[in-house]
């Protein structure tokens, strides 16, 4: 019984942990002609 609960807990953890997201995190520009 405990093994079943542990397995369910592990499964729930896998579902709720967000995947590593790929993305652009920051964009920095150097501009000219700005007043």
């Amino acid at each position: 019984m405990k093994l079943k609960q542990l397995a369910l807990l592990l499964l729930a953890g896998c579902v709720f942990v967000p995947p590593l997201q790929a993305q652009l995190k920051n964009i920095e520009m150097r501009v000219e002609g700005m007043t």
Partner: protein
């Protein structure tokens, strides 16, 4: 310019420093942002972009010709220019490893008043920050 850039899709916040001519764009999470569109929007607002650096997180892929690219979204990737740092990423091509890199995506060509924003952007890696 701040308002102009702030209206672009995927932009959460724009910080402008008049002193050193720096513009920081913070993208929204989970929303795709197009750097080429930002370049165009900046030109449209009347200023010239000298340089664009990005921090990107994604998977390293190799195209059919063996050139590396970083995939930052299912339908968005940037070609990586070959340099010493990119060589260190070759072994990760096609793997599930997610890397965070900082690199230069655009630099205004010397001697040109207005740059061509239609040419594909290539990422020159300046720093590999994380491998997960």
């Amino acid at each position: 310019m701040k308002q102009h850039l702030g209206r672009q899709s995927g932009v959460q916040n724009v910080e402008v420093s008049l002193v050193d001519g720096k513009v920081d764009v913070i993208p929204k999470e989970d929303v795709q942002i197009n750097p080429a569109q930002l370049l165009k929007a900046t030109y449209d607002s009347g200023v010239s972009v000298a340089e664009m650096d990005v921090t990107a997180r994604g998977k390293i892929m190799a195209d059919s010709g063996g050139s590396l690219e970083i995939q930052v979204a299912p339908n968005q990737s940037f070609a990586i220019a070959a340099n010493e740092l990119s060589k260190g990423l070759e072994s990760l091509a096609g793997s599930q490893t997610v890397v965070t890199v900082r690199g230069q995506l655009y630099k205004k060509p010397v001697g040109k008043k207005k740059a061509e924003t239609l040419t594909p952007l290539k990422l020159i890696i300046l720093e590999v920050q994380k491998k997960e």
